[in-house]
Symmetry: C2
Subunit: 458 residues, 2 copies
């Protein structure tokens, strides 16, 4: 049955690529209110496509800001159920001038497909859609029961997902979830991540005078909010690269020496990570390797700063305010709400009385850790060997996939992080791309994964 599906995939590769391009053309930027219409259109296109390939009960549910697209196929009696999760929303494309081609006009360059969402996550989630089509258009059935759940709010922290899962617990019952939204180590080195860092996104605004002031008339006599913000931000790390917020490390679980040894072998080298980053020099918490700093240790990152004059040339002002967007990456057993509280408390303690400060929590997600020996992870390892000809490494990831914790906590199932992305994909950055061999091998891997899951009794 899967031989036919694999042959169908090979026979329709060009069309599959064309459809992925159509999918990427929607500028479904979930964080930008001005793009809400495009997100909705993208959801409608996706729902239509799922219906077209033969899935059943295709439906679009309203989310907090953007729709959830659902579809299913439940005719594989006595077989397990796989919940396929993905997200059709994307990160903002700015800065636009750094793109080699327009972000929402996908273009093949060499062996890569360029476009916002090409890898994160439209291209990766589409591998499963095309695997399902390859079965349904050949055998007319699937080897397992399947429930597809594609959301449009992942890049804004999945505000609706946990509630949706809780409200539809029975209907969404499954044996395992599969999510393709992570990276392999290299084109020939697949990986299965069994741990993801959590996240906490906050905004910090420092304000001073009621309005921008003339820097000649007042320069030297008032505490500049931009300067005060820098003084605060500069104090959030110590000279050893540790986050200098009291209580921040209190709940960090120590990693066993055996796991650290495994990761040192399975994960990328420090030099590899720096090469991917385009950095010459490492930086970070003393006592940990570069890979450990991005996986088993938490981090605090400034995502953006905005204050005062932004245009060309100079402008002689003391800005009335300065704002920074920050994000934490959290590890077990840190809790986003508690970290938000220690952060707020710390800021209130260190802010000088010459300025005012406002702290706003934007979103939070718990860190997650899975059992690397679960049978769904074994099925994924088998599928990778078939699809990529290589045994996947079991690794930990630095990123955050809020749905994984939601599946674990609400539905009680593990999520197989079957990543087809590559470190060079430039996700969240200009010139995002998806390695086309991974798109096609990814479809094959999904075909094999569904077959391996189907070989199990439910």
């Amino acid at each position: 049955m899967n031989t036919d599906a694999l042959r169908y995939r090979r026979g329709h590769a060009d069309r599959f690529l064309g459809e992925l391009k159509d999918f990427i053309r929607f500028p479904s930027v979930s964080s930008d209110p001005a793009r809400a219409g495009s997100v909705k259109e993208c959801a409608a296109w996706l729902a239509g496509h799922l219906k077209h390939i033969g899935l059943e009960r295709v439906k679009t549910f309203p989310g907090t800001r953007h729709p959830i697209v659902y579809a299913e196929w439940k005719q594989a009696q006595n077989r397990p159920t796989v919940l396929i999760y993905g997200h059709y929303d994307v990160q903002p494309a700015e800065p636009l001038r750094e793109w080699k081609s327009p972000p929402f006009q996908p273009r093949v360059r060499g062996r890569n497909l360029l476009g916002r969402g090409a890898s994160d996550d439209k291209g990766q989630m589409f591998t499963h859609v095309k695997a399902l089509e390859s079965y349904l258009r050949t055998a007319g059935k699937l080897p397992v029961n399947v429930k597809c759940l594609f959301e449009g709010e992942e890049e804004i922290g999945s505000p609706s997902l946990a509630g949706f899962l809780a409200r539809n617990k029975r209907a969404l019952r499954a044996d395992a979830a599969v999510i393709s939204d992570t990276q392999m180590l290299a084109p020939d080195r697949p990986a299965i991540s069994y741990a993801e860092r959590g996240a906490l996104s906050v905004e910090l605004e420092v304000s001073g005078p009621r309005r921008d002031l003339h820097s000649g008339n007042f320069g030297g006599a008032v505490h500049n909010p931009a300067q005060a913000l820098c003084e605060i931000l500069a104090r959030l790390h110590d000279s050893g690269g540790r986050v200098a917020i009291p209580g921040f490390y209190d709940s960090v679980r120590a990693t066993e020496p055996s796991e650290r040894a495994h990761l040192a072998h399975a994960g990328p080298s420090g030099a590899q990570i720096l090469t991917e980053a385009g950095e010459r020099k490492a930086w970070g918490e003393i006592g940990y390797t570069t890979y450990e700093r991005t996986t088993i240790r938490p981090a605090l990152t400034i995502n953006g700063i905005k204050s005062g004059h932004q245009g060309p040339g100079g402008k002689g002002i003391i800005p009335a305010s300065a704002t920074a967007k920050l994000s934490f990456r959290l590890v077990p057993d840190q809790v986003p709400e508690k970290i938000a509280a220690v952060f707020r408390r710390h800021i209130e303690r260190i802010v000088p009385d010459t300025v005012q400060v406002r702290v706003k929590t934007l979103s939070g997600a718990k860190p997650v850790m899975m059992d690397p020996r679960h049978q769904a992870l074994s099925a994924a390892a088998f599928a990778y060997r078939k699809g990529f000809g290589a045994t996947p490494r079991l690794v930990r990831s630095g990123g955050t996939i809020p749905p994984v914790i939601a599946f674990q906590e609400t539905l009680g199932i593990p999520a197989v992080l079957m990543g087809f992305g590559l470190p060079a994909d430039n996700i969240h950055a200009p010139n995002e791309q998806f390695h086309l061999p991974n798109f096609f091998k990814g479809i094959d891997t999904s075909i094999w994964f569904l077959a391996a899951m189907g070989a199990q009794r439910s």
Copy 2:
């Protein structure tokens, strides 16, 4: 002769105000290349207006980026020559949403005229234009010889002016310059500034990775350029509010105790300055009053910071770079070029080897100091007593008027800083305004000033 001029001024107040509004309607933002056409149109309008009121040899000269408008009247034999300087270019109007009415649609609110450039400097320079008209349309002549020099590049550091003065040294010969581009202490408290701070505007860019990085995959393992910028900026002041750049204070001239005592009496109180700034708490160099910190002491101000994500919501990135615009205010005998060099040297010394840094000098202007007993300053004091009914205080200012140093160095003449602005004018900020009583009293004061100068032999 000046009685008729004063009567004419009173009889044409409404038309004068209407003409000032026309002048403000040109969005002559000199720093914005997109506004170059508007700057040019504004210059043409001004030249036409000067011709219309009866000035001679009206001409527009090309500057580095924007034109210089020149006009003269030289029929007052054996009388001194006054060089009237002003600038018709304005600061950017951003942030636009904070304006109560559109910045280039001037509107009278209460006793103020709102609009970008209303005070700085269109309204103030226009007082002299209307004083000249009041003489020429009544007596048909002026009590002194006059040369008008109105430039369009003041807000970008007057890049053409010094060269223009040097090239036209003979043609511009005069006994004194008068510039109305400063503030009075209050509506009934005129002031003549005999010292201005210099300025040095620089841009500092910190860069790290080749592109924005995913903060999940790399957070904790690379030195964030935004963080590195904050760490650098936070180190530019010590905890006592002093600029922490070695060599920065080396050439700062100590102020005599007698001058400090005079300024403590003549200048605004610390409480007044804080009220104007809308600040509750003072900040600055220990050992100096708030007024001294803005006049006899140099300062370093962050004018703007830009890095990474600027839009709504969060974005999980490590920005590839971070940029700050900074400006120094300098006092005698600091030299902008030397301060630029000590700044660059200091930055290169403190930048960590995990990031790259680029320092760019945008513009510089020397500090200036004049003899408070010069006869042109006495004529101005007399004129203020007539126009405002109050004796002006002799004060020092924190701002920077590059032309003043150019007049002193190239033409060898003092510049009378006959300010008609008020601290509440919001110059360089949203809701810039000009106090209308000061516009009309300013015209009267200019009429009296020209009369007093004309009473002297050349």
